[in-house]
Amino acid sequence: MQEAVAVQTPWFRASFKEWILTTDHKKIAVLYAVTSLVFFAVAGLMGLVIRLELTSPGMQYVSHDFYNYLLTGHGAVLLLWWAIAFWGAFTNFLIPLMIGARDVAFPRLNQLSYWFFFSASILVLITLIPSQHIKMMWTGYPPFSLNDGAGPTVLYVLIIWLVAGSTLGTGVNFITTVLKMRTPGVTLGRMNLMIHGLIGSIVIQLLGVPAFVGAVTMLFLDKYIGTGFFNPAVGGDPVLYQHLFWFYSHPAVYVMILPAFGVFSEVISAMSRKPIFGQKSMMIALWAIAILGFEVWAHHMFTSGMPDWLRIVMSYTTVLIAVPTGIKIFNWVATLHKGAIRFHTPMLFTLGGIFMFLIGGLTGIPLALPSFDIHVHDSAFVVGHFHYVLAMAVTFGAFSGAYFWYPKVTGRMFPEGLGKASFWLMLVGSNIFYFTQMMVGIAGMPRRYADYPAIPEWITLNEIQTVGAFILAAGVVLSFLAWIRGLKGPKADRNPWGSPSLEWTTASPPAPHNFDKFPVEVPEGWSPYHYGKRS
């Protein structure tokens, strides 16, 4: 048993100055997590106001313009600050620990990436000022986004630039870290699927973000310099923006879901006391999704006026994604077979996440079929579908991961009761909410509507959604409470879940230098999924 000789201050005792100037990947991870959770809460509240307004037809609580701002904020913040940035916290905290490294390859670049992200966060707060509301939806389609009624385009563009800077910095940093800093014995084929998920999403970002940044830069030039990339009045084409935008923004959904797949794999294996079923096919499937994800973008544009043949091609490429995703789901189910399954909070969130991802996936298939999409495009059905994937599969994955590694990050155990209560409320609430949302979409209700005609069926379905949304919100509040109360909870061991993965072999919370001895030694034939009886 070797303990660190020199006692250094653990991260939670660090002074304010240390937090601001830190280059430690663990502190930066905590900064990402806290920033992300604050914005998650704010955007969630925006969602509740949207839900209240839609409960009945007519405008009750907010104006049309404010509603459009709320919808823009809800979408942009939850996608960028929650579904992408929260994984930034996992990337930062886990990757060096899981590969047995002291820190990342370029700690200062890592620090810079966070502060780019922080600056973008400040700009988001500026949009709260009434005259600065952005009302172009997170997609920012021109020519509307070139219109003064859309709010300050420059803020939207600056936010994207800063977030992109942060993303690209993080990207090169962690790819280098994983390729160059693995301790001997941790091979690419053996390392955690969580790392594959996080790096897969980083590779997508490196390849895709430049297209998105290009698109918003052209938007900026169109609006303020008077160029005509997207302006049909001077020979431009608004559909070009949609292509550039979705070339990144469709793969971006895999940026959000691949790390959740990683969490599901870690948790389901640890809690079933079984190696992950088909680790190699899991890896291949994950990278297949990352690559195929770039061939499908135009399924967001099945009604955009682009040629019909392109719609058919994109329909075939899109349905192919169902194959690797199916492989992953089947492998998770097979991992449960002959396991010894423990239902701790992280496991509940993982199982819920897989169930909901199944529904999200099955409702995604028809959206890949132009013949189906032609009626539900831009309807509440699409919104319900992607909330099953993003608000449920991704969020449940993120919550599962947060609970799973909570003892490692804080050195304390969270209260199980609160965690489990939170899970059941979230599961029930979000199913009530998003299932009825899909139904009202099939019934014809368009998305992004502040108001709607008083059709009795639509009213009933909207009322049910609001009830579900508040149950969901109550569940989220309980998880926040569990995480806050857990800080004063009982001390956690190094390895409360009995996992062979490397991050569990060091202290909880890890010392500033991560491991006591370098290089970190791993036994012969090591695997992070080394569970199960061996006969």
Partner: protein, 224 residues
């Protein structure tokens, strides 16, 4: 070849046995109804195939102190992994091909369709008929006759959706896009803007007035 492999629903007016012989309020809704039904059956079956074993395993292999404390060391199975790669592949290729067959018909207006030019603007619709007659926010169409809309926009991107016909298309400035429908029942219906277009996006509704051919001809001749 394609007709024997796929369920190709009848043309408007043709045999519609797959939908219980009912004529939809508006064409081409039957193509959507059909792809919806096929998808629903496939989705429910796949859901059960995954969810039932999963729930069974959760119960059967739950942790029990002294009885079931450690899982087995099972790392994968080549045959079964090939099986659950190949079967989904066949299913999705079938679905995409079925959609292809339906979509061609959803997008191709029958010969002799009445052409109407549609112009979207923030936040109203203008409809222009072949004789030059224009109407704002009211789309008059004769019952039982196919109509082909030629859409464009004067400002930002809009989209025109007809819930009864279960079809839509964007109205894009600088382009002309198209869609078609045919109402089979006289009455008033709504057309919705389906692409976000600013403050009053949700107020950008059109009224589709489906009238008899005689009434339509009379209306068409009146000066606008």
């Amino acid at each position: 070849m394609m007709e024997t492999l796929l369920f190709v629903p009848g043309w408007p007016g043709g045999p519609l046995a797959w939908a219980g012989g009912q004529t939809p309020v508006a064409y081409p809704a039957q193509f959507w109804d059909q792809i919806f039904n096929i998808w629903l059956v496939v989705a429910v079956i796949i859901y059960l195939v995954v969810a039932l074993p999963m729930i069974y395993f959760l119960f059967r292999y739950r942790y029990r102190k002294g009885v079931n404390e450690e899982g087995s060391h099972e790392e994968g199975g080549f045959g079964i992994e090939i099986l659950w790669t190949a079967v989904p592949l066949i299913i999705v290729i079938y679905l995409a091909t079925q959609s292809f067959a339906n979509y061609t018909q959803q997008r191709t207006a029958p010969p002799g369709a009445l052409p109407v030019k549609v112009q979207g603007m923030m936040w109203a619709w203008t409809f222009e008929y072949p004789n030059g007659k224009k109407a704002v926010n009211d789309l008059y169409v004769p019952v039982g006759k196919p109509v082909k809309l030629l859409l464009t926009s004067t400002d930002v991107v809009h989209a025109f959706h007809i819930p009864e016909a279960k079809t839509m298309e964007d109205a894009v400035p600088g382009r002309v896009t198209h869609m078609w429908f045919q109402f089979n029942k006289i009455g008033e219906y709504r057309g919705y803007c389906r692409e976000y277009c600013g403050t009053l996006h949700s107020m950008m509704l059109a009224t589709i007035k489906v009238v008899s051919q005689d009434e339509f001809d009379k209306w068409l001749q009146q000066p606008s």
